[in-house]
Symmetry: C3
Subunit: 218 residues, 3 copies
């Protein structure tokens, strides 16, 4: 039994309640649907709800130890190096509750994206390589290109397109954004299709035992 515990922990993600602080005095455990998959070298800490079939790649940090809670809707994927963290006491409302970070369903957050609360990200949003979303409301179907920033309390209307490297830090800039072009929409849908296969297939790869037994190194 002890042996089993040890073999399980080897390449487990790190899942824990938040530490007790003056600002978060109650420990809350993550609530992770069993169909979701959290990869090795990734962390989920505190009051985080992760729904069905979410895929979390390696080296991701989901750290609800300051701003809290976080919600991640079904079929969403967070690629390698994505970071979720939130500022203390700043929240947004979604479905009658308050959140530090609310992410809808079928969202894709590409490699190296930073999602920092307070923020709301609607369904079917695409967040590009190394983009930053912080202190923002992002409507459903928005496409944020690589290296872009959406911040400073702006609200991006549904289905708008944020160009590569854009710094959307005023409502005026947000209002001037064009609609998502057809090829970007299609691209985001392709990314969803691929990533929705990963949770089940990675669970199979690991099997019952998350350790390295049987994994190749030559």
């Amino acid at each position: 039994m002890n042996e089993e515990k040890e073999s399980k922990c080897c390449f487990s993600p790190f899942i824990s309640p938040n530490p007790i602080t003056t600002f978060n005095p109650v420990q809350i455990y993550p609530d992770i649907d069993e169909t979701a998959f959290i990869s090795q070298f990734s962390s989920v800490i505190g009051d985080v709800t992760i729904r069905e079939n979410v895929y979390v790649a390696p080296n991701v940090s989901i750290r609800a130890d300051e701003g809290t809670p976080f919600y991640i809707g079904s079929n969403t994927n967070l690629q390698d190096g994505v970071i979720l963290h939130g500022i203390l006491k700043k929240q947004i409302a979604a479905g009658g509750r308050k959140y530090s970070i609310y992410i809808g369903k079928e969202v894709s957050a590409a490699h190296g994206a930073l999602i920092h609360g307070p923020c709301y990200i609607g369904n079917n949003v695409f967040i590009g390589f190394k983009s930053i979303v912080y202190n923002a409301i992002v409507g459903e179907g928005v496409f944020i290109s690589y290296n872009a920033v959406v911040t400073n309390g702006v609200k991006v209307a549904p289905n708008r397109f944020v160009p590569p490297g854009a710094n959307i830090d005023t409502q005026q800039k947000a209002n001037a954004l064009p609609r998502v072009p057809a090829d970007s929409r299609e691209f985001a849908e392709e990314v969803q299709k691929v990533n929705q296969e990963f949770p089940a297939s990675y669970h199979l790869l690991f099997g019952e035992n998350r350790c390295s037994c049987g994994l190749a190194f030559d």
Copy 2:
């Protein structure tokens, strides 16, 4: 005893001396104050001094295997994905010694910041999301906004403000920087307050045993 050793290593950070190379032929172990907290999936390698109550988030790499040594002052925090590394043989002076990287006390390095030696970062500096500080002297109280770069041997005077996305790569640009506005100063102080609670509270969360025993996964 063997069992204890194994149970301890499961979610330990990786702490080791530098590897022996022609340019660093002596192995030096990190000197980490016991009140500091280094998170899972983070590394500290080589001649690195980490002082009281430093908080190092997950997926941080502090790698003094090329440029060396590094110093990190008390109450400083390094957020998720921060990287510290240094170029060979390039050093700066601080307090009568030479360093590849010197970071003062009460510095905050936000998510994804890259601090690359040679560099000096004074007390109470704030380094924003995904910023780069490389080959620079940053005076105390400077506020570096997200996605900014400070490089090319520049010296930033105390209490200057580096705007979002700015590329400060000449002394002329550094000299033209405005002073830190009151709201940014306040923000940096808030971030310090929150992060100074983390080392003790994370030590309590882990307790004696850093393994996954008792951590939730459902």
Copy 3:
């Protein structure tokens, strides 16, 4: 024997075949030369060839579970936080084969660089801090500065210099790039020299046993 397995896995990198999906129905193990070194908290997944004396720093993700295969030539180094991933079914040709990502020999990918397939990176290329190479052909000896992007199907001729923060997303922009200046060429050679020592020296540091036994924590 069981004990040995456990002690080995503690700070091992994660090496595994790709998971079985509809788009990659065959499991292929990475082929990693034994002189290469893959650091703790890094992953190599799927049909990835890693040649002699490659150095992979901590918190790197090499994930051939979508676009595939990847090739990494001898003496190449991937610094902390580098990510390799590829888009499904998009490939480039190199040496009579097709690849999602082909990286030649003596390439340096600096901290936080993102290399996303389809892409080809010739020998002796330098890729700067936090740069993005995606859907591009990069000729040998090219120097890509920090925060730059090379994308959108462009082909960069050998020995061209991409300035800091440049967004090379048209062939016209690629064609207008200047040649690599002598000091950047020299810098890239210095980086190669240093990193070519790491694989052997890190193998020695770990010895037979990759666990934390004997590593310092105080």
